[in-house]
C-alpha cells in the first residue's frame, strides 16, 4: 500500500466515525452537535490534505533535484548549461520556488500544472491559518496525488 492509500484509509476511518455521530445528531434534532461534527469533518479534510500535500512536495523536490543535478553535470555547452547553473544555484540556496520546480516537471499552463497550482494555493491558505477556499474531495486528492507521483518525471 502506498503512502496516499495508507493516509486515505486512516482519513476514512476518522471521517466515517465523525459522519456517524453527525447523522445520529441530525436524527435526534441536535443541530448544534450536528454542526460541530460537520465542522470536525472539514478540519479532518484539511489535516489530511496538508499531510498528503507535504508528501507530494517531497516528491517534487526529489525529482526536480535529480533533474537539475543531471542537467548541470550533463552539458559541456555553456549556452545550455548557463540556465541550469542559475537554477542549480537557486536549488542550493533553497530559493527555487515550488511551482518553478513543478514547471521543470510538467508543462507550465497546462492541466496538470494548473491543478497542482490550485492544490498549492489551498495548501498555502490552510498552512497560513485559513481554511479551504474551495471544497476538496479527499478521494480525488488521493487519485490526483498518486497520478502526479507516477507521472511527474525529471
Amino acid at each position: 500500500m502506498n503512502i496516499f492509500d495508507e493516509l486515505g484509509k486512516i482519513y476514512s476511518e476518522v471521517d466515517d466515525t465523525y459522519a456517524r455521530t453527525e447523522i445520529q445528531a441530525r436524527s435526534k434534532g441536535y443541530r448544534k452537535k450536528e454542526a460541530e461534527y460537520y465542522r470536525k469533518r472539514q478540519l479532518n479534510d484539511q489535516a489530511y490534505f496538508l499531510f498528503m500535500f507535504t508528501r507530494f512536495e517531497g516528491r517534487v523536490r526529489e525529482i526536480s533535484d535529480n533533474l537539475i543535478n543531471n542537467k548541470v553535470t550533463g552539458h559541456a555547452d555553456w549556452k545550455i548549461n548557463r540556465a541550469w547553473e542559475i537554477i542549480n544555484k537557486q536549488k542550493s540556496n533553497d530559493s527555487l520556488h515550488f511551482m518553478n520546480r513543478v514547471a521543470l516537471l510538467t508543462p507550465k499552463g497546462q492541466i496538470d500544472y494548473n491543478l497542482i497550482k490550485q492544490y498549492y494555493d489551498q495548501r498555502n491558505n490552510i498552512g497560513h491559518g485559513g481554511s479551504f477556499t474551495i471544497a476538496i474531495s479527499i478521494p480525488n486528492v488521493i487519485a490526483d496525488m498518486k497520478r502526479f507521483y507516477k507521472d511527474l518525471k525529471g
Binding site: 484509509k9 497546462q110 474531495s137 480525488n140 487519485a143
Partner: protein, 143 residues
Amino acid sequence: MTMQKTVKVDKQHVEKRIDDWKKRVSDLYSTIEIWLKSSNYYIKRGSKLKMYEELMSEFNVRPTEVDTADIYNLDNKIVLTIKPRGLWVLGANGRIDIISNKGNYTLVDFAEQFEPPHWKLFNSDKKNGVSFTKQLFFQLLAK
C-alpha cells in the same frame, strides 16, 4: 496534453454556476425520489445549508442556501443524509456528502460546467469512484 478551456469568470458567471448547482442538487433529489417509489424508504428535503464560497465573496454575490435531504425508512428513522458540500471543487463540478450510520460517501460531479451531471461515488472502498446509479444507491441503503 490538452489546454484547459478558458472561461470568463465574472459575477454573472458565478451566479449562473450557483443556479446550475442548485438545479443539479434538486434534480438529484428528484431522481432519488423516483428511485425510491414503491420502496421501503422515502426522501424528504431537510434543513438548508448556507452557501458562501470564495468566488461568491470575490464577485460580491450574496450568500445563499442549498437544500439538504434525508432518506427515511418506514419507521421514520433517518438512514441517509445528503449534504451538498461545495460547488467549486478542484478538478470537479461539485461535491455532495451522503452520510449514513456506516460512514460517509462522497458524491462528486465530473461533468464539465453546465453539462448534465456525471456523479461518481467515492468512499474508502471505492477510491476511484463509481458511477452513481439506482443499484448503487440501494446498496448504500442496504448497508
